[in-house]
């Protein structure tokens, strides 16, 4: 019997991956989780979590969830429409190839450079704004909305829409034209097709993609910080404020607690995403 026992080595291939995830995801998460329960003296405490209820952290939480939800929904709708236009067009056409490769690039564009690109073009001293203003279109007549959450939402959509195109296009490609022909030959109209065939098939992956967009803008930091530097309006900035304050508002424990709060919110979004993903992949098989 002993001789028949074989040492299983098939797990060896996953070692680099597990080591990588361990060092860059698992260990930091544990450090954050432990740190969130320690006070400045290093003993167990729940006081950091009390900090989550101070007014500016609550405001930042509401802001961040709202901003992420709005940019996810708008990004998902506009991105889905664009993806639909591509999916129904020529599969080898120039338009499709151009949009897909542009989306691949633009979905990764973010941070200080993106924020500054907006400031330099449509900001109050940007050349596009100055041109529009000279021609009678003053879109800052009622205030500089680019420097509040509306401006941030606009900048986020710049990478949200292309990301939606990338993640939603495969689902649209899975829809077979024959299904529509079948629906029509059975006497169904366009509305029936969308309501009973394409809609139910696409809805889970649409919602899943929307949740992905939510998580994407939820974790964005550099873009927000470059555009709205005052008052830490989003959660990631609150964390940075409590870590790097050089004027003595250094509260690493609270920063950990906020990070844990963000992880919890993203975990909820990700669980929802994977549930919906499972449902839609069953349909598309």
């Amino acid at each position: 019997m002993l001789g028949g026992r074989r040492l299983r080595l098939d797990w060896v291939g996953t070692v680099p991956f597990l080591a990588y995830v361990g060092v860059f995801l698992f260990v930091p998460t544990v450090i954050i989780a432990v740190g969130a329960f320690l006070d400045d003296g290093g003993s167990f405490s729940l006081s950091n979590f009390a900090g989550l209820f101070q007014s500016d952290v609550v405001t930042a939480t509401v802001n961040t969830v709202l901003l992420s939800a709005v940019t996810a929904v708008i990004g998902a709708v506009l991105g889905a429409l664009l993806a639909y236009a591509i999916a129904t067009g020529n599969p080898d056409g120039v338009f499709r190839r151009a949009v897909v490769s542009a989306s691949g690039v633009l979905a990764q564009f973010g941070g200080v450079t993106l924020a500054f690109a907006f400031i330099a073009t449509i900001g109050p001293a940007g050349f596009v704004y100055l041109f529009a203003q000279q021609h009678g279109l003053d879109f800052y007549a009622n205030g500089y909305w680019i420097y509040d959450l509306r401006g941030l939402a606009l900048v986020y959509l710049y990478f949200q829409i292309p990301l939606m195109v990338l993640v939603f296009l495969p689902a649209l490609d899975g829809i077979k034209p024959q299904w529509r022909e079948a629906a029509e030959s059975l006497g169904g109209r366009t509305w029936h097709y969308w309501r009973y065939v394409a809609g139910p098939l696409l809805l889970p992956s649409f919602l899943g993609a929307t949740l992905l967009l939510f998580a994407n803008s939820f974790s964005a930091y550099a873009t927000a910080n470059a555009l709205i530097n005052q008052g830490n309006p989003v959660l990631a900035q609150q964390i940075s404020g409590f870590i790097s304050s050089e004027v003595g508002l250094h509260k690493p424990g609270l920063a950990n607690a906020i990070a844990l709060e963000m992880i919890a919110i993203v975990v909820v979004a990700t669980v929802l995403y994977s549930l919906l993903q499972r449902r839609s992949s069953r349909w598309l098989q």
């Binding site: 404020g241 050089e246 004027v247």
Partner: protein, 378 residues
């Protein structure tokens, strides 16, 4: 490898020889003889080491000096290091981690201890200086009397070196009338979307001092920053306040044509924007200075003290001035006529008596800001 170890051994031999020579001549009592290492370690002034020439001799015997976090383009440190090198050619300067922060400097002292790589001297922000005095050795430079009492620790644990005043820098081609003569001007309708700080005052020291300067100009005191916060609240409501951090890029492209920042940093924008002007309100002259400190565990105690003497000599002070930083002895040197007049004339004019935030006042300000700032500018 062999060459390396040979030269290292040679180096050790040379140092040993010089040390022997120095020790050998010590008992003669001659003023040019070096003071002993243990004397240098605790010397609180050059005379405690037996006078300047004895300090120079001891520093030459050590042959090395470790400095840290001194960017060559910051306050003219590149020229200062080569100036010291030219004056004392037998002392080799090792400039470590030039872009480090004040906290990095203190961390290096704690981590490297008495090892030969540890920093000898520090140039740090006041918050870090006050929090780490147990790491410093007291020392008073020959020109100690020229430093105002408010700018030094009485025993010489730290003493301020250079700094500047909080100012309003602006592009004169983009503000109404081409000039700003009072803080209240900023509230005018011609300043819509133009006024910015250098960071968030709950995070960045320069921004905190920006709010404090406005606070003083509006009749507030160093102990209570609330009038400054109120002003920014009104500035925000008037849509004049821009919530982005002013940087070289935002100044250059015109997004932040009015910036509250230290005058020596603001004056540097003149390189990019030829119409840039810097204004220090005479009713709110708020100073901010860095400080020098000698490490208690300095591996080269005599060279460390000699470096301080050089920095606080007329030559060292004028070199800082050329880097647009105001040296701490500036007023005294103006009186004695030793100041580099051309370099002084390049600084933004300041008329009046400067004030400085104490540690307690800075704490009070940051505590108030932490609960009121976000709401004030929302």
């Amino acid at each position: 490898m062999k060459l390396g170890s040979l030269s290292r051994r040679l180096g050790v031999a040379v140092v040993a020889f010089v040390l022997l020579a120095a020790c050998g001549s010590a008992p003669s009592g001659n003023s040019s003889s070096a003071c002993s290492e243990s004397t240098a370690k605790t010397a609180t002034s050059a005379s405690a080491c037996g006078g300047m020439s004895a300090l120079v001799a001891a520093a030459n015997a050590e042959g090395k000096l470790n400095v840290i976090a001194l960017p060559p383009d910051w306050a003219n440190y590149g020229a200062i290091i080569s100036g010291f090198q030219a004056k004392y050619p037998s002392i080799k300067i090792t400039s470590d981690n030039p872009n480090g922060s004040s906290q990095d400097e203190v961390d290096a002292v704690t981590h490297l201890g008495t090892s030969s790589r540890a920093p000898d001297v520090l140039d740090i922000g006041m918050a870090v200086a006050l929090a780490n005095t147990s790491l410093f050795a007291p020392y008073k430079v020959a020109t100690w009397g020229d430093i105002l009492d408010s700018q030094k620790e009485p025993t010489g644990l730290w003493f301020q070196d250079y700094g500047g005043f909080m100012s309003i820098g602006y592009d004169s081609s983009k503000v109404p009338g081409g000039t700003i003569s009072s803080v209240d001007d900023l509230m005018g309708s011609g300043f819509k979307g133009k006024v910015a700080l250098n960071g968030d005052p709950t995070k960045a020291n320069a921004a905190l001092n920006g709010v404090m300067m406005i606070n003083l100009a509006k009749g507030g005191s160093l102990d209570d920053i609330s009038k400054g916060v109120d002003f920014f609240h009104q500035l925000r409501q008037a849509k004049n306040f821009v919530p982005i951090q002013a940087t070289t890029a935002t100044v250059k492209n015109g997004t932040t044509p009015v910036v509250l920042d230290w005058d020596y940093l603001s004056a540097a924008h003149g390189k990019d924007v030829s119409t840039w002007k810097v204004f220090v309100p005479s009713n709110a002259i708020l100073g901010g200075y860095y400080a020098q400190a000698v490490s208690k565990t300095a591996p080269h105690p005599a060279a460390a003290r000699l470096w301080e003497e050089y920095l606080y000599s007329d030559e060292g002070q004028n070199l800082w001035l050329k880097g647009l930083a105001r040296p701490v002895r500036q007023a005294a040197m103006q009186q004695s006529g030793k100041i580099d007049a051309a370099a002084a004339a390049a600084l933004p004019p300041v008329n009046g008596t400067p004030v400085f935030l104490s540690a307690d006042q800075a704490t009070a300000a940051k505590t108030y800001l932490s609960t009121h700032w976000a709401a004030a500018i929302a």
